[in-house]
Amino acid sequence: MARAKKNHSMTSEVDMTPMIDMTFQLIAFFMFMLNMKEAEQNEHVQLPDSVLAKPPDAPIENPITMHVSATGDIYIGGAKTSLAGVGPYLNAEANSFQAMDVPLNEVNVIIRGHKDAKTGMVQNLMKVCLDQGYENFLLRAREEMK
C-alpha cells in the first residue's frame, strides 16, 4: 500500500511569542532592580548591621557621601584619599553649596564606615567635617532582619 510522503520543501515554524514575552519580562525585572545608587556603594566598605537602620522615606537632601574602610582609608566618590585630603574637598563642596544658597547646616554628611573600622578614625573624619562647618551626620548601617 502506498503511503503519503512528506513534502521535504515544507519548513517548520516555531512560535517564538512565549519566549520573546518571557525575555522581555526578564529584561523589565532586571531594569527595575538595577541599582542606580552605585555611587554610594564601595567595595571596601562592609556596613555594620542594625535593626533600626531603615531606608529613608524621602531622598536625602544635599548629601555628601564618604566611606571609611577597615584600614582607615577614606573614599570619596570612589577615589581614595587621606584625612588631610578631606578638608580641601569639603571646602570646595562648601563653596558649591554657598553658591546655591544652601547653608552648611542643611547639608547631610553620609558616613559609611566599615564594621571593623576603628571608631576613632570615623570620629577624626567627623571632626574634620565639623571644623569645616558641617554639623549633620548620617551614620549608615545595613538593615538587619530579625
Binding site: 533600626l52 529613608p56 547646616n105 564594621k115 571593623d116 571608631t119 576613632g120 551626620f137 548620617l138
Partner: protein, 168 residues
C-alpha cells in the same frame, strides 16, 4: 480588472525577528551580568551643632547620659559604663537600662525622649560596636500585627571628641 499588489486578507507577512531577538538577548545578558543584590541601608541621624550657631538654643533640662565604651586589645567591646556609675557587659543590658531611665514615652509614633546621650568610645573600638551602642539607646522594633514599628528612645545622640590613638 484585478487589483495588483493588494495582498489577500489571509496572506501572512513574514517579519524577520532575528535581529530583534539578538538585541534582546544582548540586553538580557547585560542586565544579568551587572545585577548585584544590594541590601537595604538606613541612617542614624547625628546632629552636632556648633556652639557658635545663630539663634537662641533651647536649654535641655535633662542631664546628658554619658556612655563610655571600653575596648579590649582587639577592638571588641570590653565594658559599657554609663555616667561612670553603672557598668554593663552587653548592649541588651544597656538597652534595658535606657528603657528604665527614659521609659517608653516616645511610643511607636512618638519622637522619642528628650534625653541626650553622649558616646565616649575608645579609639580602637570597632565601628560595629559603636553602631550597636547607638542602636541600643536609639530604640527598638516591635511587631505590630505583621507591621514592624520602631519605638524611639534617645534620639539626641552626640559623640565626645575623639581620643588619641593608643600609643600616642
Amino acid at each position: 480588472m484585478k487589483a495588483r499588489g493588494v495582498p489577500k486578507s489571509d496572506d501572512k507577512i513574514p517579519l524577520d525577528m532575528t535581529s530583534m531577538i539578538d538585541i534582546v538577548f544582548q540586553l538580557l545578558a547585560f542586565f544579568i551580568l551587572t545585577f548585584k543584590v544590594v541590601s537595604l541601608e538606613g541612617d542614624f541621624d547625628i546632629r552636632m551643632p556648633q556652639a557658635s550657631s545663630d539663634g537662641p538654643s533651647i536649654p535641655n533640662p535633662t542631664v546628658p547620659m554619658e556612655i563610655r565604651l571600653v575596648a579590649d586589645g582587639n577592638g571588641n567591646l570590653a565594658d559599657i559604663r554609663v555616667n561612670d556609675e553603672r557598668s554593663f557587659t552587653s548592649f541588651d543590658e544597656l538597652h534595658r537600662h535606657v528603657i528604665a531611665t527614659v521609659g517608653n514615652e516616645g511610643g511607636p509614633t512618638g519622637e522619642g525622649s528628650s534625653q541626650e546621650a553622649t558616646i565616649d568610645a575608645a579609639y580602637n573600638l570597632k565601628w560595629s560596636e559603636t553602631i550597636g551602642a547607638i542602636t541600643a539607646i536609639s530604640g527598638y522594633v516591635v511587631d505590630d500585627s505583621g507591621k514592624k514599628e520602631v519605638v524611639k528612645l534617645i534620639q539626641n545622640v552626640k559623640f565626645k571628641p575623639p581620643t588619641a590613638p593608643p600609643g600616642d
